[in-house]
């Protein structure tokens, strides 16, 4: 028997959705949604779960991740209950609950904590970076108190914690959704899994489902493709993936290429352009609040997008600086910022909005099983 927990709505509201209790269950949101499928009638059912405080139902809903937040349901909701806004917030809520250290929950619910942890991490990373060259004054001062090894293992520990948390999060999500979906590991399962994986890869490559969000009635149908949210998302996503690959290639070959004609550098440049373009447009939409979805921008969104944008911009700065061979002090500062931000993105990967990068494909995978 499922218990109603009205207290839970207050907790959900702390993730940023305030109006959903105005819902009177008309179902308009489900009706206008282009992604609603048979037997998965979000967003209304997710609003309903939230109003009744049905935590397990929320955490075991793969439907939560079927939505790309086009915001049409929020725009047309007769009660202005913001179903689309709630969907975004429930994803935050779910990430915070899948992730077991409690760090994500704190960051999502508490903005000062979010800023503080970002800053502290930045300072720690700065020290760490400065200690790479042990002859600097700062490093000499530091090493009198903390040995280099301790700092090094601290950094490794942070990476390990992030990796473990991501893994635990994935397992927790699998168990919640799996329980609802009753997945059994039979021979047939693997056949289905291959099929589902293909669909996930197809979706990541093309964002075909996301493209369905540009319905005839939405403001996006009149805009050029490169301005539509799915395309903006595609550029950010593939920009980041491209940069990750390029950086990894550089790292593996231990020889940071100096010429931009080097294949990994070409990849990095193209990927960087994509990511800077996407994050610039996305930030612009959020500043201008052009739809209800973009108007509902929380600290987690600003930080994530802002970091991506900064990482891209500083990357190009450095690329130009390297190409010009200018050995200015400012360039060293920019390098510091670039590395700190990139490191933060990676370290906070499992604890931030970034975590959707593995939760969403997993949910999509389970949906297709």
């Amino acid at each position: 028997m499922t218990q109603i927990q009205p207290e839970l709505t207050e907790d959900i509201k702390k993730y940023g959705a305030f109006d959903f209790t105005a819902c009177y269950n008309c179902g308009n949101c489900t009706a206008v949604c282009n992604l609603t499928e048979k037997n998965s009638n979000f967003p209304r059912m997710m609003v309903r779960y939230s109003m009744l405080g049905l935590k397990e139902e929320i955490l075991s809903s793969k439907e939560l991740w079927m939505c790309y937040a086009c915001g049409e349901c929020s725009d047309t909701c007769p009660r202005e209950a913001g179903p689309g806004v709630l969907m975004s917030n429930l994803r935050r809520y779910a990430i915070a609950n899948y992730e077991k250290t409690g760090l994500t929950r704190l960051m999502f619910k508490n903005n000062p904590f979010f800023i503080a942890i970002t800053l502290i991490l930045a300072v720690v990373l700065a020290f760490f970076l400065l200690t790479i060259k042990p002859d600097t004054e700062v490093a000499r001062w530091l090493f009198r108190y903390v040995p280099y090894e301790v700092l090094h293992s601290f950094g490794m520990g942070a990476f390990a914690l992030m990796g473990l948390s991501a893994f635990v999060g994935v397992v927790v999500m699998w168990r919640h959704i799996g329980k609802e979906k009753k997945i059994a590991f039979t021979g047939e399962f693997f056949k289905k899994a291959v099929n589902a994986a293909k669909k996930v890869i197809g979706e990541v490559a093309t964002l075909k489902r996301y493209q369905n969000c540009d319905s005839d009635s939405s403001i996006w149908s009149k805009k050029a493709v490169w301005l539509r949210p799915w395309f903006v998302h595609w550029t950010i996503m593939w920009g980041f993936i491209g940069l990750l690959v390029a950086t990894t290639l550089d790292f593996i070959f231990k020889d940071p290429a100096t010429t931009i004609w080097w294949p990994s550098r070409i990849l990095g440049t193209i990927a960087g352009i994509l990511m800077v373009y996407g994050s610039t447009v996305a930030l612009n939409y959020r500043f201008r609040k052009i739809t209800k979805t973009y108007a509902n921008t929380l600290m987690a969104d600003w930080m994530f997008l802002g970091f991506l944008w900064l990482a891209g911009i500083t990357g190009f700065w450095l690329e130009i600086a390297v190409a010009m061979g200018a050995d200015l002090f400012i360039n060293h500062v920019v390098l510091m910022i670039h590395i700190i931000i990139s490191m933060e993105l990676v370290i906070l990967f499992a604890f931030s909005k970034f975590a959707h990068a593995f939760y969403r494909p997993l949910a999509l995978f389970m949906h297709n099983l």
Binding site: M1, Q3, I4, T9, T21, A22, N41, M45, R48, L52
Partner: protein
Amino acid sequence: MKKKIGVYVCHCGGNISDHVDIEKVKAAVRDEADVYLVKNTLFACADSSQKEIGSDIENEHLDAIVVASCSPKLHLNTFRGVAQRAGLNPYNYVQVNIREQSSWAHSDNKTGATEKAILLVKAGIAKAKESEALQSLKIPAANVVAVIGAGVGGMKTAIGLADMGTEVYLIEKDFFVGGRTPQWGTVSPNGDEGAILTEKLYKEVVRRPNITLFTGAELVEKSGSIGNFDLKIALRPRFVSGNPSTEAMQRAAEACPVAVKDDFNFGLTNRRAFMLPAQGQFPQVPAIDQSACTRCGECTAACHEVDLTQEVQTITLHVGAFVVNTGFDPYQPAQGEYGYGELDNVITLPQFRRLMEMNESELVFNGKKIKKIAYIYCVGSRQDDDEGNTYCSRYCCTATSLTAVLAKKKFGNIINFHFNRGIRTYGKHELVYEAASKQGDIFLQFSLKSIPQIEKRGNKTYVKVKDILTAGKELETEADLIVLVTGMVPRKNELLAQQLKIPTGRDHFFNEIHMKLRPVETVIDGVLIAGTCQSPKNILETVNSSMAAAAKINSVLTKGELSLEPTLAKVNPAACDWCDNCSKACPFDAILQTEINGKKVARVNESNCKGCGMCTPVCPTDAIDLAGYTNAQVESMIDALAEA
């Protein structure tokens, strides 16, 4: 017998003449005996045609006319007016309907339509021949109204009537006016207090010299008909005379040793046989409950105004009409219905409202602090057909939503669960639902097929429901208090129903003549209904219908006399042997027994007779006849039709 009949056959543009051969009709009836002239008109109802018919009557001295045109529903009164203006009795006019009954019905068969029209016109001529001049009846009417029930509706009716110059007797069965309204506290939509509403109205009632208020009063006998009813009213003794001081009242109530369940609080508390008026009940003069009082006399010592020697008084009144405004009772749940009467934390909405009034800052029931409240809607309303009340009680969704808002406002830490079957807070009351939903109330929807289940586990109570809004998922919540949202049933009043004989519907509420067009009149002339004795209503709707009843009956009585249609039943005493068939057939109680020269015969009470004709075919001696539709007329019409 009429000798000079004018016949007019109407083309109705082409409505009739397209399918009925007008010339043939004219030719066929021209040679009928006693037909003086036959004419056709393009539009008989047109001004010029009316003038022509009128001048024919005057110049040719016609003694009856027949217009063959459309339905009498459309133009009977038009041509009666033409006759009257030309000096002919309007009942010497006969309308024949050859449009709906011939032309339109048989547009596919021109010959047949024409033949049928000819027969209909001939029958009309036959009827006109036998027609008699009738005079409409005038009877004197008392511009006095007995308003039964002094709740919000009754008081509004009384005030409305009094202001239009009608004398009012306001008759209340209880010792206090106000009815259900003072029991409610705050009411929707604008947050008025029930007690204050009642107080305002009571002050208005006593301020008017032409309203006489009787409390503890009941109609025990009624005779007569519209304009002239004679009533007997029994006045139960209050056993308190004058106006005792508050202290004396308190002392007397404390001295009273008899405790009974307090109806005002719906049995949640006890009161004494010496009843103190509650807030909002008027007059603020105590009364002694005769059925509970043991006549021990303890109160007489405490309060000098107590007079246990008072007895039931019967008075007689003469009134022109009634407005019945007897209100409703809250539906009483059956033993075990949602745990009612079995679990100590299951109460009804009216009880809960009293409980809220009685608690100050903390909501406590049976010594337990209440936090989670489950409201179960539609208890005693919208039930299954074979089970009981199929109707919606209209007020309860609003009342419950408002209750939930008020409870949270007054007691703070409250969580409201609304187990409903679709919320109907129509009109301005929508704001109340809005407020309830805004404050985070939880609305769960069930269907009649799977109603919520109440379950006691340990010392906790749980409500289980298959929530329609969550795709039929089984949900459960703990509840400290379960409030059954009970609907309305008509207030029990058998004596009154028996006296006034107002028909009731399948829902047991009093029935109006026409829901839309005659919403406050009943088939009994001079007996009007208003408020919740007619159907479930909220206060606003009750006041609306009460004012409507006031205006309606005043418009009838204010002339001092009533004009009745002369198409009434008539008894020929010489032929009558009083077999009682006619009075049994009469649906309006219009036939009485009387004696003429020692012979028992039937007599028609003309002010009750509706001219329906039910009595004429059952008479074995043809002693009863209906003016305007006499046996002679109808038989001659049949002859004319059968001639073919």
